[in-house]
């Protein structure tokens, strides 16, 4: 279990970082999504891995429970990363429609064109 979760986080992060370093917008969006998945799994695991345990205390029986706070954190993080990905897609579309290509970097000539 630990090995599976840890290697999942590692592989997702590695893939995400690799894709972010591409120069085109679509791989960068995919890379940021992979990174946000990695961080979400990481956040869940910060409350220790517990299986089949409810995130609430039970005062009638002595059953194990799991830390609810990371679950709340990860919900917030999912919502934010989802919204941010949507914004990023719109930005990419806007930049693509304005510039005619989907490269992330700006060449010196483009800046000069604008300045002139």
């Amino acid at each position: 279990m630990e090995l599976l979760v840890a290697s999942a986080i590692g592989v997702l992060t590695a893939g995400g970082v690799y894709l972010i370093l591409r120069l085109r917008a679509f791989p960068v969006i995919l890379g940021l999504s992979l990174l946000s998945y990695a961080v979400n799994i990481f956040l869940v695991s910060t409350g220790r891995l517990a299986i089949n345990a409810p995130p609430i205390l039970n005062k009638y029986a002595d059953v194990s429970y799991t830390d609810p706070l990371p679950q709340a954190l990860v919900l917030t993080a999912i919502v934010i990363s989802f919204g941010m990905t949507a914004v990023l897609v719109m930005f990419t579309l806007g930049a693509y429609l304005e510039a005619g290509d989907d490269t992330i970097d700006m060449t010196a000539t483009e800046e000069k064109d604008d300045a002139a």
Partner: protein, 532 residues
């Protein structure tokens, strides 16, 4: 517990959707609402600053949940000062964008502007590390919209870079918070201050990792080397009033570093005690050098101003790095100064560039009101470069005075003094090119001077007023340096006495005397059954 503490967050948060949905077709209404909201924010911020000046740490528990289980907003001298700085800057920049018509060049300027203020004020007020992340996202997502306001090819591309950079930074922030929670079991800043020193020696590596990750995240926001590269592209391609407002955004990163490294990772905490002193000082030195060289090398006015912002962040963080009360006091003074002077330069550049047609530093015929703009640029450049008589000189003098430690002094003094000289040369070159050489530009024989149609109108009084107000604030900061540094000294001393903060936040909540008002549960039950 006073509800006024949350007002700087709630007020813009209520106004923004109202402006965005109800007033989106009526720019006049949106302007009035946005201006009214910002004025109200300024008044509230002023009230909070006066209230916080009593030296207490005022805590606002959301939902009345006791810390560390609930989220708290905390008002002390530093956060009150930062909120007041934000509100003052916001008011002046808003005036400029309304007077020059920038806000009408695209949609939803005012709604995004209010969301931006909400995020910034929230980030300054919160006492919870995860809540800080949320407010960072709020201010970032609003800044994405403001950054590409009024559109354009290069601006969209620069905006895309800015978004990608900050999304990567946010992911890093989450990794840092996860590591922090896994090791300490809390994200409340005051509780962290209690828990971090208790970490067992074998676990201290994880806390250090989290502290360094957080430092990198805040260095991205504060535009420090080696993660400063997003700033020139963003600031020089953003609409100028937005760039002026962004002058406070780099300070959010600086504030977060000051706050966390005097509280959660305070110098007495064994696991993280030398994180800042080891890494921040060299990073700030390189940032300062980069900023100065960038000012000297820039071929256009807007990148030049952006690099001067980087240089001023480097100067300021040099004073943050030693983590001692006097150095922090000088850093706070320089923080206020550099916010206003950067904003003044960007607003002035907007007035000049919109009439000149381009911000390329070459000789072309002078714009209307060349003399007025030249005088204002001279004053603002003096402030930014740190020449007397404006507050930049005093700010740099104070920082030099604070950095007298034998191992820091040769580096810091050389860096700041040489950096200032190089910055002066860069600004002098830009100013003489734009304002002086333009008066001697000779057109070839027989050609008519190219006149744009219609010719650029001279700036009205209302358009120049925001720049003048910022310069007046810089003069005021220099004249009233005594009272100002007095407040900042008190703020710095409060930061370095974290027990007051910790005790206020973690104080047990007084139980409200409800038992006599509410009937006991048993007594109510028969009554309920009767009704059934």
């Amino acid at each position: 517990m006073s509800h006024w503490i949350i007002a700087p967050v709630v007020l813009p948060a209520m106004m923004a959707p109202l402006i965005g949905y109800v007033m989106r077709h009526d720019i006049v209404l949106a302007r009035v609402a946005s201006a009214a909201s910002t004025v109200a924010l300024f008044i509230i911020a002023l009230g909070l600053a006066v209230w916080a000046a009593d030296g207490g740490t005022h805590v606002y528990r959301l939902g009345d949940w006791p810390a560390p289980f609930g989220i708290v907003l905390v008002l002390d001298r530093l956060s009150a000062m930062m909120v007041l700085l934000t509100a003052t800057l916001a008011l002046i920049v808003l005036w400029h964008s309304i007077a020059t018509g920038w806000d009408a060049k695209g949609r939803h300027f005012h709604a995004l502007y209010q969301f931006q203020l909400m995020g910034i004020c929230g980030a300054f007020l919160t006492g919870d590390a995860f809540n800080l992340f949320v407010f960072f996202e709020v201010l970032l997502i609003a800044s994405y919209g403001l950054m590409v306001h009024s559109g354009g090819k290069v601006r969209m591309q620069a905006g895309l870079q800015y978004v990608v950079m900050n999304l990567a930074g946010s992911t890093l922030f989450l990794f840092a918070l996860g590591t922090m929670y896994a090791t300490t079991g809390t994200l409340n800043m005051a509780d962290l201050a209690v828990k971090v020193p208790q970490i067992a020696a074998e676990d201290s590596g994880m806390v250090r990792v989290a502290a360094v990750l957080l430092l990198i995240v805040f260095m991205i926001k504060a535009a420090l080397f080696p993660v400063q590269f997003w700033l020139p592209g963003t600031y020089s391609n953003a609409p100028a009033p937005v760039a002026a407002l962004f002058a406070i955004m780099t300070k959010v990163g600086a504030y977060a570093i000051i706050r966390l490294h005097t509280l959660a990772f305070h110098p007495g905490a064994e696991p993280t005690k030398d994180v800042v002193t080891t890494w921040l000082f060299p990073a700030a030195m390189v940032t300062l050098a980069l900023g100065a060289l960038g000012v000297l090398a820039a071929k256009r006015l807007m990148p030049l101003l952006s690099f001067s912002v980087i240089g001023s962040m480097g100067t300021m963080m040099l004073a943050v790095a030693p983590v001692d009360p006097y150095a922090t006091e000088t850093a706070l003074y320089y923080l206020v100064h550099s916010t206003f002077s950067a904003a003044a330069l960007f607003l002035l550049a907007d007035l000049v560039v919109s009439r000149r047609g381009s911000d390329v530093l070459d000789a072309r015929p002078p714009v209307v009101q060349n003399g007025l703009f030249a005088a204002l640029f001279f004053a603002a450049a003096i402030a930014m470069a740190g020449m007397p008589p404006l507050s930049g000189f005093l700010g740099k003098l104070l920082i030099l005075d604070a950095l007298r430690e034998p191992e820091l002094m040769p580096w810091a003094w050389t860096g700041i003094l040489v950096g200032s000289l190089v910055t002066i040369v860069g600004f002098a070159r830009a100013g003489s090119m734009i304002f002086w050489k333009s008066t001697s530009v000779k057109l070839p024989e027989g050609t008519e001077p190219i006149q744009s149609d219609p010719p650029p109108a001279p700036a009205r009084g209302t358009e120049v007023a925001p720049v003048m107000m910022l310069l007046a604030l810089l003069v005021g900061l220099a004249v009233l340096a005594g009272p100002a540094t007095g407040y900042m000294r008190a703020a710095a001393n409060q930061l370095f006495e974290p027990s007051g903060y910790i005790d206020s936040v973690l104080a047990p909540v007084e139980k409200p005397e409800k038992a006599e008002v509410d009937p006991p549960l048993d007594a109510a039950d028969p009554h309920a059954e009767e009704e059934h």
